[in-house]
């Protein structure tokens, strides 16, 4: 197949939104959308154009059993009864709060986060909230960033430690390195501020102890090719932050991880 011209590509996104592509073509567009912000934006624009047509479909009240099933599936009752959301929102806000307080961010290592989470999760709240963490360590053995992944809400907060200074016109870009396959762009991060990144479902599905995070130096808008083009600044294995402190789990299995990145 010949490479698509920009107009053809645009048309492809329109066809995706309209729904005329077959399963294989749909999957290809979804991959593009996960990897390229311009593709995602074009798809959003076409949704905006075509979705109003749904107004021609009369609403139809679903039977009550659907909501019951959703509640059971998401364990909403347990959540509201024994796991008041304030505790979780509070934790998330806490991570930012610490940072803004100016507490040495390097001190908030994955270890600290893991311990904090373990304490919180040990409260009698049955559904464990899956968090993962990674400490991104640089060649100078200093912590560049810590990343905490909130799986339930598909987001990641990346807090700078003592990141290496980059040359002008370069910015740090975060990548997910799957066990097999090429790096997947996660987003641009900052060397001075905490950044929250919303994660597409396709990316969340690939987070786990076999994957790692890496940061490379890229042009300010991000890698133009969708692959790392600049030098790698740091890497860190992903560990299950929600595991109990005594668990042997996670991050210390990769040779480049210093002892401090052990999640337990």
């Amino acid at each position: 197949m010949t490479p698509l011209e920009p107009d053809d590509r645009e048309l492809r996104y329109a066809e995706y939104v309209l729904g005329v592509l077959d399963a294989r073509e749909r999957a290809a567009v979804e991959r593009e959308s996960a990897e390229r912000p311009d593709a995602a934006a074009a798809i959003d624009a076409w949704s905006q154009r075509l979705s109003p047509l749904a107004a021609e479909i009369a609403p139809l009240e679903p039977p009550a059993r659907v909501w019951d099933a959703i509640r059971r599936r998401l364990r909403l009752d347990e959540r509201t009864r024994v796991a008041p959301r304030a505790a979780h929102a509070g934790l998330w806000e806490n991570l930012r709060f610490w940072h803004w307080l100016g507490l040495g961010s390097a001190a908030i290592s994955a270890t600290a986060i893991a311990v904090l989470l373990a304490v919180i999760l040990r409260r009698p709240t049955p559904p464990p909230i899956p968090y993962m963490a990674a400490t991104i360590v640089q060649a100078d053995h200093r912590i560049g960033w810590t990343a905490t992944m909130d799986i339930a809400h598909s987001r990641m907060i990346v807090i700078p430690g003592v990141p290496r200074r980059l040359s002008a016109g370069r910015a740090p870009e975060l990548w997910l390195i799957p066990q097999a396959g090429r790096p997947i762009p996660v987003g641009m991060i900052s060397d001075s501020a905490a950044v929250t990144i919303e994660l597409p479902a396709s990316l969340v599905a690939r987070l786990g102890p076999t994957a790692a995070l890496a940061v490379s130096a890229e042009p300010v808008g991000g890698s133009p090719t969708g692959r790392p083009t600049g030098p790698v600044i740091g890497t860190g294995a992903i560990g299950a932050a929600a595991s109990a402190p005594t668990s042997p789990a996670t991050a210390a299995t990769r040779p480049e991880s210093p002892p401090g990145s052990r999640a337990a």
Binding site: A54, E56, A58, P200
Partner: protein, 184 residues
Amino acid sequence: MPTEDRATLERLLRETGAGDAQAFQTLYRLSSARLFGVCVRMLRDRDEAEEVLQEIYTTVWRRAASFDPALAAPQTWLVALARNKAIDRLRQRREATLEDAAALDDVIDDRPGPSADAETQEGYRRLHDCLDALDPKHANSVREAFFSGATYMELATRLTVPLGTMKSWIRRALIQLRSCLETG
């Protein structure tokens, strides 16, 4: 169904994204009839539509935090998510039975729902006018595609035209729609 105004849906999505189960329930109450209508219409099977509706709201719960009101109206976001889930389900079905459109008329009528909010109404009016400006064959193909989630191949079979013709009708229609909506 109560009025789903944009600001209310935006707030509910934001609160759902923060893990508020109460807000999520309200969001479901306000939006599920519209999305269920879309599912039944596309899947033509109520049991399957119920399953897909479950998947849709499970995804809404998990992804609400990624909703950005600057990028999309909440209605658009929800409808797009619902249609995507329904289309994915259609693609999983190998033996799709798309022929008996008539059976569906018992279940659903095609008039615009009374509860669409003003913003959707405005978007709908413009889209409707632009569709009206197209060659009727092209406009029909676009509607058929939108409401059935059928592939090019299935549409060509159903409307008994060659595949290439169906593709060119729809592509031309999409290009014209875009420029019509931009100028409108």
